[in-house]
Amino acid sequence: MEMLRTEVGGLALATPLLSASGTFGHEDEMAEWIDLREPGAVVLKTVTFHPRRGNPPPRIVEVSGGILNSIGLPNEGIDHLIAVTLPRMRGRTRALVVNVAGERVDEFGRIGEKLAAALRANPGDFQAVELNLSCPNVESGFPFAKSPELAARCVRLCRDHLSVPLLAKLSPSVADIAEIALACKEGGADGLTLSNTALGLALDWRTGRPRLGAGHGGFSGPALKPLAMYLVFTAFRKTGMPIVAAGGAETAEDVMEFLAAGARAVQIGTATFRSPRVMRAIEQRLPELLAQAGVADVAAQIGRAHPPAAGAKA
């Protein structure tokens, strides 16, 4: 539908709805539930340079307004993505976004190199790359997304190899989102994904022990939405960068709200666990809400919360 079209950092999207990494499987698991061509883009689970086993269970606990997870990025590694996952996904999505993370700074460059080679061999296998900068850095134990310098270096190392749109996915658990965002722009990011899960903790009050196997975790779900809204709004105003929102969106109303704050597209994450076809329901309702809001299309809804001069209205 023409009115749902959008674009973010050079990634053209038929609808503003994307899956959120880590909530839509490693490859085509969701094909049993929906046509993989329904989302504007499918974003795959984070892939690291080396395979990872992930964290000990329990990996998810329910808390007020959402869930805490400490999944620990289990994945088969970049070579498996290129050899197995990309061929399996070929031609099955409207757009495929590969989400990658290094566990060390230099791995962002090595991953970028491998992805570039994969694209040369099979052009069109993926349309954009999302960098998960919330992955802990094994060299310092500190997520890249907390330091402007580190974040910029990671983006730069990947950018040097890749010409497809590059989105930097940031952590909400930082003091100044705009500072990190601008560093990513310096590093060559075409856009931002705001955001990943927020750091959180749940304890068993009887024993005093964490309820998650790995200790603390990342919070997601409806209660994350106001936080993500603020990040989107602030980053739009202060950086003008193209933004994909992520955080607690469950309904078409939520999507409209994120668009108004300045997001050009919205990822649906935790909501999929509750209802595997939630994205379809949202898409079906969007035209009606656009009409109710008195705007012609998604493009006209983007950034409505800001004065006309603010942000990038490209």
């Binding site: 269970p57 869930i67 999929t272 209802s275 595997p276």
Partner: protein, 278 residues
């Protein structure tokens, strides 16, 4: 004729019956018969339709699935242990329940010439009950018997229903109030000693009980399939919450598998039970 495949099904509560201390039987009506008959171990992610609370759906194994395994009614047994099961226990007749499923890899059908020993612990009965129901409905061959253990006789849920499925049922209770005084793995040891010929064990219950059953099976070199009840968030393979630790040949953690799509039924032998805390 329309029928339901694996789907997000809108079901209607027919009955919520108290069947023991904190234990309930929930019967729901499907909107249409299932396209494929259920087998023991198939599960559904349940929630009160439209409710915001609890946040996630909860997994439950089907206990009974109608005369041909396709409905029109599905039966679940559950214990109230927290918020989600508490909500299910408060459901009223006529209310809508969303059931995502059927999900997971079920127990295999019996093999002719082999004795299947089913070992149930407490509220772990449902997948084994459905296995027996299917065996009887389809007149599948092979001998079978059910060992059913619980803390006390009032926690041997739906015992009469299990006894009506055409196989011998032996019980054990920790307090000696019904059957053997002791744990069900002891009952299993005694039972295995009396069976000649090939045997396969299918079990479902609390982790420590399945760990003990798996040890007994391994000692005797008997294959043993378990139905795991890990914490789940999605139930269909996309979140990685339901990690089951799997050992390498030396008993060290080799990898995790997803209980919801690679299980919940799987070989019990390589499961690292001491890591499978939830």
């Amino acid at each position: 004729m329309t029928s339901c495949t694996r789907d997000v099904l809108q079901t209607t509560v027919r009955e919520v019956a108290a069947i023991g201390r904190d234990a309930w039987r929930l019967t729901v009506a499907l909107p249409a018969p299932l396209a494929t008959p259920l087998a023991g171990g198939h599960f559904f992610m349940l929630r009160t339709a439209g409710a915001d609370f609890p946040f996630l759906n909860r997994p439950f194994s089907a206990h009974a699935a109608g005369p041909d395994g396709r409905g029109p009614e599905l039966v679940f047994l559950f214990k109230t242990v927290g918020r989600g099961t508490g909500c299910l226990a408060r459901l009223r007749v006529g209310e809508a329940v969303t059931a995502i499923g059927p999900l997971g890899q079920p127990f295999p059908d019996p093999r002719p010439g082999e004795t299947t020993v089913l070992v149930a612990g407490g509220v772990g009965l449902p997948p084994l009950h459905l296995w027996l129901e299917r065996r009887r409905q389809r007149r599948l061959g092979g001998a079978a018997l059910l060992l059913y253990g619980a803390r006390s006789h009032d926690q041997l849920l739906e015992l009469a229903s299990a006894q009506a499925l055409g196989v011998e049922v032996r019980t054990s209770t920790d307090d000696g109030s019904h059957g053997l005084h002791g744990r069900v793995d002891r009952l299993l040891e005694g039972t295995l000693a009396g069976i000649a010929g090939p045997v396969r064990i299918l079990t479902c219950g609390p982790d420590p009980m399945m760990a003990a059953v798996t040890r007994v099976a391994a000692t005797r070199g008997v294959p043993c399939l378990v139905s795991l009840e890990t914490v789940m968030a999605c139930g269909f393979g996309v979140c990685n919450a339901c990690a089951v630790p799997i050992a390498d040949g030396d008993g060290r953690l080799a990898r995790y598998v997803r209980a919801c799509i690679e299980g919940p039924v799987m070989d019990g032998k390589p499961v690292l039970w001491q890591h499978a805390t939830h």
